[in-house]
Symmetry: C2
Subunit: 370 residues, 2 copies
């Protein structure tokens, strides 16, 4: 067993790498995809479901859990693991991103960000020390620093100022932490300006974080712009620390980012799309509501071994979806997350075997057709 | 192994009895509760969930499945068991009840009932032979005859005429059946007139059905009126055939009916109430959304061993319910059905031990408090 926070790279293929990250609730194999469990629950799934599809770590949203049911309550009930019945690793974000995307009002200052709840309009303030305190109450295995995520198109000057604030907040978060059993990751910002990304990466690398996230990408910019920034940012981060690309993405995006040396991913895409009937398979993307599946007795994905694919036909999944049966959301989510978790598992296999480039070609081919 | 359709009474306590009914997909222990799987799915549950909570038989609705996805399609895909992934016994109703409760138009004649779909307004006709043909396409283990269920308050004359029609249809259904692997139950009607119930029971008993249902109760009448009719009807049915009280009911109603010699039950109450946050427990009915459960870390029911009670607190269940998480519906449904299935299991135990009367007192006490 390794020290909590220890990250070991055990295989490499080019810059792509396979690693192991030790946390208080177990070791995570990287590259890894983290299903999003916004309010202490991955929508429609139980902890048993998550176990069965091979989830190693899930994500919880600090903003949502702070508002409902409240981090104090969760602490009182023994922390988020016990509250939700999920006893493997949990990463929590800082809540900053949701403040910027959900709050009807936000006022940013050196101290932090003042916002209104999207639920009842009540006023709240997130400061660096506050978001650490909340995440310590939640008891997550990996905490994230408070940062400002600037929209695509923000000018150089604002981005530079914002980046300085993000670094200041990162340092304050680091200093606010009261225990080292909960890991803390810094977040690189800097918008779409390579020199600012470099500045951010350098400043953050000087703080002994347990890992580094790349934030502010996948916010509406063209794909090539994102990968261009990513390619330049990753090499500036410490080799011996895990790298987490926040909020990305589609299967091929994940594979491309792994090729560039990214270790961790989260995204609502597989879960949200599942609820909309869009399903990822080894033969491309499928929309289960299509008429062509009405009499189709084959499994959703002939190459998948998840509960959904083992037991049900496309015809039944279409029936559940078109009649809005609650089971539809769960069976679709089980499949899409199985697809994503299998994708990163295969990625690990191909890195180990030095065949990652061929694997990437295969995934590229799969999603070209659909 | 017994012949398909064989019903054996193995224990008795007064008129209450424990039996075993053989069907093509396995043997059912009676008294039994049958979860309602309207459209080929018990709302929010997978077949695995149903297995885990100990369901022995579920119900499917002919009206709904005929309209969507269609019995022809289900037949083509191998029948309802294969379509839904549930390989234990299934009972299907005749569809008549839904025609009367859901269709915006219905026109009854000697031949059958003409109705409009509540989904798209299209016109359809259910005749005795049609509903048997649909149920044969579905491949259910127990089929029900087409009947007319008259509302509470219907006069003597109409009820008498309707009863004659129900008997005529029952005979036609019996003659329309093309195989004996799918059992067929008759349905006693006669409204709230003891002499008409007697007439119905006598006429139906003359047809060699595999079992007999008591229909037309729990349609808005006072409880004592229902039990009065039930008490007079059951003794008129053949001792050696299972008796099924349709659409009943609350836990105590089921226990009282078992005491009167009923063997089978179905009701949407446990599943529908689960989705509304109303939960049945060994200490009475609980409304999970109540403020008092906000910090309650105890299990929903301290005496229950279901997945929900083993793994989650009332506080978490309240959180899921108030934030409308999809998992809420499933965890609540798992619990309520576990409660119902455990209730009939305990009933069987107490009949075997000749302690049924004490058991009834206990259940009476439990629900007096809530």
């Amino acid at each position: 067993m390794n020290k909590i926070g220890k990250f070991r790279v055990i295989h490499q293929d080019g810059i792509a790498r396979v690693g192991k990250l030790s946390t208080l609730h177990g070791t995570i194999n990287t590259p890894i995809f983290m299903p999003v469990g916004t309010r202490g629950c991955v929508k429609s799934l139980s902890p048993q479901d998550l176990d069965e599809i091979g989830s190693e770590i899930i994500l919880g949203n600090t903003y949502h859990l702070y508002l409902r049911p409240g981090d104090d309550l969760i602490k009182k009930l023994g922390g988020l693991h016990r509250f939700s019945g999920w006893y493997r690793p949990i990463l929590t974000d800082s809540g900053g991103f949701q403040v910027f995307s959900l709050s009807p009002l936000r006022k940013i200052s050196d101290q932090g960000v003042l916002f209104r709840s999207h639920i009842d309009g009540s006023k709240h303030m997130f400061t660096p020390s506050k978001v650490i305190s909340i995440q310590e109450n939640l008891g997550s295995d990996i905490m994230m620093v408070l940062d400002e995520c600037v929209p695509y198109g923000t000018d150089y000057e604002y981005t530079k100022k914002s980046l300085a604030l993000t670094t200041k907040w990162a340092r304050e978060c680091y200093n606010a932490r009261t225990n080292s059993h909960q890991l803390l990751f810094g977040i690189v910002q800097g918008g779409f300006f390579p020199d600012l990304r470099e500045e951010s990466a350098k400043q953050l690398s000087a703080i002994p974080f347990d890992g580094f996230a790349i934030g502010g990408l996948s916010v509406g910019e063209p794909k090539d712009v994102m990968f261009n920034i990513l390619e330049k940012t990753v090499p500036l981060l410490p080799l011996e620390r895990p790298r987490y690309l926040m909020g990305v993405g589609k299967p091929l995006d994940i594979i491309k980012a792994i090729e560039m040396g990214v270790d961790m991913f989260d995204c609502v895409l597989p879960t949200r799309n599942a609820r909309n009937g869009t399903l990822y398979t080894s033969i491309g993307k499928i929309n289960i509501k299509k008429q062509e599946f009405k009499q189709d007795e084959s499994p959703l994905d002939p190459n998948c071994t998840c509960y959904t694919c083992r037991n049900f036909s496309r015809a039944y999944l279409r029936h559940l979806y078109t009649t809005k049966e609650l089971l539809s959301y769960r069976l679709n989510t089980i499949h899409n997350l199985s697809y994503y978790l299998n994708l990163v598992k295969e990625a690990r296999y191909h890195i180990k075997n030095k065949t990652f480039s061929q694997f990437k070609d295969k995934i590229e081919e799969t999603f070209k057709q659909s």
